[in-house]
Subunit: 370 residues, 2 copies
DNA sequence: TTATTGTCTGTAATCGATTACATTGACATT
DNA sequence: AATGTCAATGTAATCGATTACAGACAATAA
C-alpha cells in the first residue's frame, strides 16, 4: 500500500521521518542524527533538516522510538488513592526531579482495586515504563506472582514492604511515634490508646512499636483493649471511636496512626458530645494539608514528604541508567518533625483522671500562611 | 546479531512472541491470533500457545503493538494541579469509564507551568495517547500554535475554552451563580461583592455574569469596587480580603467564584477579627471535599463533577472509535445543586446594615431560618 | 603519488508486534 | 473424480524510528 500524501493531513500529524527526509533531500538516518546528535551532521544539512521539520511539523513517533531503543523515559507511580492529598507533595517532588531529567511520570491510582493494580502491572510487564515508584504498601497483584524484582527498577516511598529487597525512602516512624507518645506522657497522660494502621503495613507497625516503646519506658503495661485496628482511612477512626465510647475506663489520650484516622475519630467523638482536647487528647501522624481547616488544630508528626520524594526520584534515576550497573538497594530513613497544635491537653501530675472542664488552649483557627 | 537465550532472564522479561511461537511449535501469527481472537484458532493449538505463554511469562510488548496498530489505548488528562482535590472526583469517574473500555488514563499535572505543558503536548504529538481530556482552561502551549483540533480527540471538562471548537462538559455556571446570588438577595443582602475567577476563564466569566444578572434583576447597580480579581487559588481570597477590609462601605455578602477562594477569604477575615456569617456572609462555588473540615460550613453550589467526568469519558470513547465517524462536538451543560450551610446570615429587610446585637460566640453554628 | 585519517552520509538491519495474503487439507457438492 | 468451500495456519510485509556498517570524499601525511 502506498503511503497517502500528507498534504491533506493536519499539520504535524502522520508526518514520518521519511517525509522529512524526502523533503530535505537526505536519508532518514541523517534526519535522525540531526535530531539526536546535531554535532554529527554538517551545518548545511542540519539547516535543511530543521527547515523540513518546521515545514512539516514533524514529531518523532514515540512508539517506534520506544520499540527501537527499548526504553520509554516514563516512570509509573502507584498510589492507593488520590482522594488523600497525602501523596500530592511526594508526587510533585518526584515529578520535579524526573522531568528535569527528561522523564515523564504516570500516576497510577489503584484505588485499592486488584483489577486496576493488574492493569498497571501489565503496563510494567509490557515495557511501558522504565521505572516504578510504589506508594501503595504492597506489590501489584500480578507482579507478586512474577516477582517484580529485576523486571524494572522499583523504589518505595513512605512505605516499606516485607520481603521485597527494594530501595526504600521513608520516615523514621518508630522513633517519631515514640516522641509523639512521649509528648503525651510529658503532659500527664498515662492511659493512652492507639488506633493502628492496616495489619500488613510496616509503617503502621513501626508506629505501634514506637507507642509501645514509650509506654515501656515509663513502665506502663500495654493494654490490648486500648489498641483499636485501623486502616489509615477515615472509617478506622469512626470504628475506634465506637470502641472508645464503649469503654468503661477510657484513656485520656489517643495516638492515631495517621491524620485521616485521627480526624474522623475526633469527629465521631464530637457527634457523641465529646470534645478534643477537653475530654480526650488526640495526636495524629503525617500532617496532611487539609488539617489547616480542621478544628481543633491537630498535634501531629510531619513527615518530610517532598524530601523523601526528591531523594527517591534521584535514586531511581541512578538505577534506570543503563551505562552504569545499578547500586544495591538503599534504605533511607528521615526524621519527622513534631507539629504542636491544640489537640492535646496538659493534665498535669494527677495521672490521667479527667479534670473539671477547663480550657488550656484557645480554640482559635491555626495561623495563616503569609 | 543472534537473539540471546531467554533462560538467564527474569521470568516474563525479554520474552517475545517468537519465543512463545517457537516453544509452542507454531508461527508468531498464530500466537498473536490466539491472544487477540482465540476463536480463530483451533482448540488444540490454543492450548499449546496458552501453555507456552504460561511457561515463559510472556506479555506482549506495548511499544511494538502500539506502533503496528497506531493506537495506545491511553488517554491523557491535563489538570492544572493535583493539590486541589476539585479534580479528583472527575478523574475517578473518567478513569472508571475508560478502564471499563480497556483504556488507561495518564494524569498530566501541569502545575501551570508552560514547560510541563509543552512536555505533555509533545506526548500528544508523538502519538502516545489516543485521546485528551483538558481540565486546564487552556490548550497546551505547543498545541496552541499547531492547532490541537483534529490531531487527537479532545474533550473539555468543567471548563470551556474560547475559540476551540471542542466538545465540552460543564456546569451551568451562569444560572447557578444567579441562583446563588438570588439566595443572598432573598436573605436581605443588597450590597454584594464578588471575587472573580482568572481573567481568561470562561467558567469564571459565566459566574460573574450570573452575579450581574441577579443584581440587574433587582435593579441594583454593579459596583466595580466590589468586584475583586481572583484566580481560583487561595491567594485570590487573601487579596480580596485586603481589598474588602480597606473599604469604607463594606458589602454585607460576598460571592466567591470558587470554594478555595472563599475559604481563604474567610480565613483572612478571621485573622482580622471579622467572622462569617456574623460580620459578612460568604458563598462559594464547587463544593470541594475538604470543606467538611472547615468552619463555618460554607454555603456553595455543587457541580455534578462525577457525572460530568462520566459523560465526557463516554463521549470521548465514541470519538476515539475508528470504525465510526466522529460525531460533531457536543456541549453538555448540567445544573448545579445549592448546598446550604452556615456561612450566610439572614439580615432581613433592613437593606444590608449590620444588626446591633451580635453573636458573641463565633464558634457556635448559627441556626438558619427555614 | 599513495596511503591514511576523519567527516559526512546512505543502506539496510533491527526492535516486536499485527495482519493481508497465500497455502494446506478436510469435507461437501456435483 | 473434479470442484468448491471453509477452517486453520504460515509467510512476509509493515508500523516508524535508531544505528551498525560501509562508502564517498576531502584533507593530510608519508
Amino acid at each position: 500500500m502506498r503511503r497517502p500524501s500528507t498534504s491533506s493531513l493536519a499539520f504535524g500529524h502522520g508526518v514520518t521521518i521519511r517525509d522529512v527526509a524526502r523533503r530535505a533531500g537526505v536519508s532518514t538516518a541523517t534526519v535522525s542524527r540531526a535530531l539526536a546528535s546535531p554535532e554529527r551532521v554538517s551545518e548545511a544539512t542540519r539547516a535543511l533538516v530543521d527547515r523540513a521539520i518546521a515545514e512539516t511539523g514533524y514529531t518523532p513517533n514515540a512508539s517506534a522510538r520506544n520499540l527501537r531503543v527499548r526504553s520509554t523515559r516514563m516512570v509509573l507511580a502507584l498510589v492507593p488513592g488520590m482522594t488523600n492529598t497525602f501523596f500530592t507533595p511526594i508526587l510533585n517532588a518526584v515529578e520535579d526531579v524526573l522531568s528535569e531529567a527528561g522523564y515523564g511520570l504516570i500516576i497510577g491510582d489503584t484505588r485499592n482495586s486488584r483489577e486496576r493494580e493488574a492493569h498497571y502491572a501489565r503496563l510494567i510487564r509490557a515495557g511501558q515504563v522504565d521505572g516504578v515508584i510504589l506508594l501503595t504498601g504492597h506489590l501489584p497483584a500480578e507482579n507478586e506472582r512474577a516477582g517484580i524484582e529485576g523486571l524494572v527498577p522499583t523504589t518505595l516511598i513512605c512505605i516499606d514492604i516485607p520481603r521485597a529487597n527494594l530501595p526504600v525512602f521513608h520516615a523514621a516512624s518508630r522513633s517519631a511515634a515514640r516522641r509523639l507518645v512521649d509528648y503525651l506522657i510529658a503532659r500527664g497522660h498515662r492511659r493512652i490508646g492507639h488506633i493502628t494502621g492496616p495489619k500488613n503495613n510496616l509503617e503502621g507497625l513501626e508506629r505501634m512499636r514506637g507507642y509501645k516503646d514509650a509506654l515501656a519506658a515509663i513502665g506502663v503495661e500495654v493494654e490490648p483493649t486500648l489498641i483499636w485496628p485501623g486502616d489509615f482511612m477515615p472509617e478506622g477512626g469512626s470504628a475506634a471511636a465506637r470502641s472508645f465510647l464503649a469503654l468503661a475506663d477510657r484513656p485520656t489520650a489517643v495516638f492515631a496512626a495517621n491524620d485521616e484516622t485521627a480526624v474522623n475519630f475526633i469527629r465521631s467523638l464530637a457527634a457523641s458530645g465529646l470534645s478534643v482536647p477537653d475530654d480526650v487528647s488526640v495526636v495524629g501522624f503525617d500532617d496532611i494539608e487539609y488539617l489547616q481547616f480542621f478544628s481543633p488544630g491537630l498535634t501531629t508528626m510531619r513527615q518530610p514528604r517532598a524530601e523523601l520524594g526528591r531523594l527517591a526520584a534521584e535514586d531511581l534515576l541512578q538505577r534506570m541508567r543503563r551505562d552504569t550497573p545499578a547500586p544495591p538497594p538503599v534504605r533511607v530513613r528521615l526524621e519527622c518533625e513534631l507539629i504542636e497544635r491544640h489537640s492535646v491537653r496538659d493534665i498535669g501530675a494527677d495521672k490521667g483522671r479527667p479534670r473539671a472542664p477547663r480550657r488550656t488552649e484557645p480554640k482559635t483557627l491555626p495561623t495563616l500562611p503569609a
